[in-house]
């Protein structure tokens, strides 16, 4: 099989679906510029023209509304943002219009828009260029929220969003995953929205993760093996709706749970997953120890690297949190492990 990077996989899905479905259009600030949304839309306009690849002015609120209007009248717009933070300018359109339209009118109309937004991290992206807003959007009934963690899923989930769904779908992509490669089929295939996947099988503890945290958790699970702990890593893939079946099944099997999210704890994905497990009698009774959550520090992201380094949890944080769940004691990993290799230095320079 052939390998593609996350960014290339998104571009391929967009290309193939646009060829198939003339109602698909793409809108975003910079979709046709030389960097083309980190490569995920670059040069598409050469094939499909600037009528379908709309490099819009800086008017997030209005062009999101425009996409919603186009969607309810037969188009399938994909919106792309270089950062999650810019979604907040379109919050009303997303949360009060797109999410509720179908419901308010008894399903007489639908808003099949796909909104892609990239999470920035590192190199001093700072408080307003590094937010990961999955929790905010998963709060709203009527939205679906997807967080691909690898190139295969990035393509398959986008295909599903564009062909099998009628709801507004938010896809949260991580900048640090953009260069990560894996096998990606050339043909069009779909990965169902609402289904998690087992990224690694294990028996002692379940680590539930999203997006970049899946990659970190996989590295952590290798270190855990060395320490005699077999971790099952679940990649949520979709955070709304959650794949309750898979989460519960794994927890009942391993009887221990760690949740790792690339976002804040409070009212976050990790809070929701923990609540779901606590509410389910079988899962709750299966737990041998308290649930542990690993997430960002409860502060905005600082710019200086001195603080940025401790703001984000690392592989070591995941390893020690897992050992704590299993052994019931705090373990300081710092001295044992050098910094993780997977993501380090993948993103330097300005943007």
């Amino acid at each position: 099989m052939r390998e593609l990077s996350y960014g290339e996989a998104i571009k391929e899905a967009t290309f193939q679906m646009m060829e198939k479905d003339p109602s698909i259009i793409v809108m975003g600030e910079g979709v046709n510029d030389p960097t083309g949304m980190f490569g995920s839309t670059s040069d598409l306009y050469k094939t499909f023209g600037k009528e379908r690849l709309i490099d819009v002015p800086n008017s997030e609120n209005a062009f999101t509304g425009m996409a919603i209007g186009a969607a309810m009248t037969g188009m399938r717009p994909i919106i792309v943002h270089q950062r999650n933070d810019f979604l907040l300018l379109a919050m009303d359109q997303m949360a009060s219009q797109a999410a509720k339209w179908s419901y308010m009118f008894s399903g007489k109309a639908h808003v099949p828009i796909v909104i892609r937004a990239v999470v920035g991290r590192g190199w001093g992206q700072g408080a307003q260029h590094s937010q990961s807003l999955q929790s905010l959007f998963m709060h709203f009934p009527g939205l679906k929220v997807v967080m691909p963690a690898n190139a295969y899923d990035a393509k398959g989930l986008l295909v599903s969003a564009l062909s099998e769904e009628n709801s507004p779908i938010i896809i949260i992509e991580h900048r640090w995953l953009y260069k990560a490669k894996c096998d990606v089929p050339e043909k069009i295939y779909s990965v169902p929205i609402g289904k998690a996947s087992i990224a690694r099988k294990g028996k002692d503890v379940t680590i539930i993760a999203t997006s970049l945290a899946v990659a970190d958790s996989l590295v952590a699970s290798e270190k855990l093996i060395e320490l005699g702990v077999s971790a099952e890593v679940i990649d949520l893939r979709t955070v709304r709706p959650l794949d309750l079946d898979m989460i519960k099944k794994s927890v009942i099997k391993t009887q221990n749970l760690v949740i790792v999210d690339s976002g804040w704890k409070t009212c976050g994905v990790s809070a929701e997953v923990a609540a779901v497990i606590a509410e389910d009698p079988k899962s709750f009774r299966a737990l041998k120890s308290p649930i542990k959550r690993v997430a960002w520090a409860e502060t905005p992201a600082p710019t200086t690297y001195a603080l940025e380094n401790i703001f984000y949890p690392t592989v070591e944080t995941i390893v020690s949190a897992t050992l704590e769940v299993i052994k019931g004691e705090t373990i300081n990993m710092e001295s044992k492990y050098e910094e993780q290799k997977f993501t380090k230095k993948q993103f330097t320079g300005s943007f």
């Binding site: 600030e29 800086n58 209005a62 700072g126 502060t299 401790i310 300005s350």
Partner: protein
């Protein structure tokens, strides 16, 4: 109104300071000592210098992602600026902000933040405060041609006009939003007229000519003092890439010839020198002296930044409620 020699010398000092500081940052950036995104003010120095020179120290300003010029032109401390670039505790934002989040309250800079258009209504709010307190302070709001596309800008124009607030809207039109040309984003090239529907007068000036910007700002100050907002569009250029230290052509966009032509014909510093020398305000020797003085300041600021500590771990949790 005529420009005098001392004003002209001040223009030179400020233009050259922004230029030399940003050139230093561009030079050192590839070595990774500065670890945050940078949007340089090289080529557009006359906008912030012209506007801020017409304001009092107590007047307020606010801006967006491209804030180096604004910070320095409003009198922000250079040591604290450099320390902020280096992520140090002594930086103007304690290292937590970096290049995109600059503040100098002692000099009236309320802050710069990089969500497009977001600081425009905040500036209007500062002006509301001045009006209610009757303290006579003005507020100048800096934003780019790209930020002018955000809906909040038009809402802010309405509010400022409705409540008769002492605001000067300053649109720094460098004709680009990242790689996107203004023509591809707006149907009519009339940024200075955007306030008309709200009864806000505006004018377009050559943003590469500090005297022109200054004189426009003086007119604006007069109008704003009478309780009416005013809008100035400054047409200028950014010489370097949108974010980062290089030239666009070095990253495969545009041509070397294009930018060299702009640098040759539309350089705010060269424009000032031409006029000042003709008027007999100063000579080459004075320029050289000024340059040396600034280089010393820059050198000191680098030393200050290098010597300053990085924020300690517990600072991560400070300043959160």
């Amino acid at each position: 109104m005529e420009i005098n020699a001392s004003q002209s010398k001040n223009f030179l000092y400020n233009l050259l300071k922004i230029r030399l500081v940003d050139e230093y940052i561009a030079d050192v950036y590839p070595t990774d000592v500065i670890k945050c995104p940078i949007h340089l003010s090289i080529g557009s120095e006359a906008v912030s210098v012209g506007i801020c020179s017409a304001l009092k120290k107590t007047d307020m300003v606010i801006g967006g992602h491209r804030g180096h010029g604004i910070y320095l032109a409003k009198g922000g401390d250079l040591n604290e600026f450099m320390a902020e670039m280096y992520g140090r505790e002594t930086g103007c934002s304690g290292g937590k902000g970096g290049s995109m989040h600059l503040i100098s309250l002692e000099n009236g800079l309320l802050g710069t933040t990089p969500i497009l258009g977001s600081t425009i209504p905040i500036g209007v709010g500062a002006a509301l405060s001045s009006k209610l307190k009757k303290n006579g302070k003005l507020t100048a709001i800096f934003f780019g041609d790209g930020a002018s596309e955000e809906g909040v800008y038009y809402e802010s124009l309405n509010l400022a006009a409705l409540y008769k607030l002492p605001v000067i809207f300053v649109c720094e039109n460098n004709k680009y939003s990242i790689f996107q040309d203004l023509k591809a984003r707006q149907p009519v090239d009339n940024l200075y007229k955007k306030g008309e529907a709200f009864g806000i007068s505006g004018e377009r000036v050559d943003g590469n000519n500090v005297e022109d910007v200054f004189l426009a700002a003086k007119r604006a100050v007069k109008v704003a003092k009478s309780g009416k907002p005013y809008l100035i569009e400054c047409v200028t250029n950014r010489w370097r890439q949108h974010v980062g230290p290089f030239y666009d052509h070095e990253i495969g966009f545009g041509t070397k010839e294009e930018i060299e032509k702009i640098m040759l014909n539309e350089d705010p510093i060269a424009n000032l020198l031409k006029k000042a020398k003709k008027a007999g305000f100063f000579d080459d020797k004075f320029v050289e002296k000024t340059r040396k003085r600034i280089i010393k300041e820059v050198t000191n600021s680098i030393e200050f930044a290098n010597k300053s500590p990085l924020p300690s771990v517990e600072k991560l949790y400070s300043h959160i409620y």
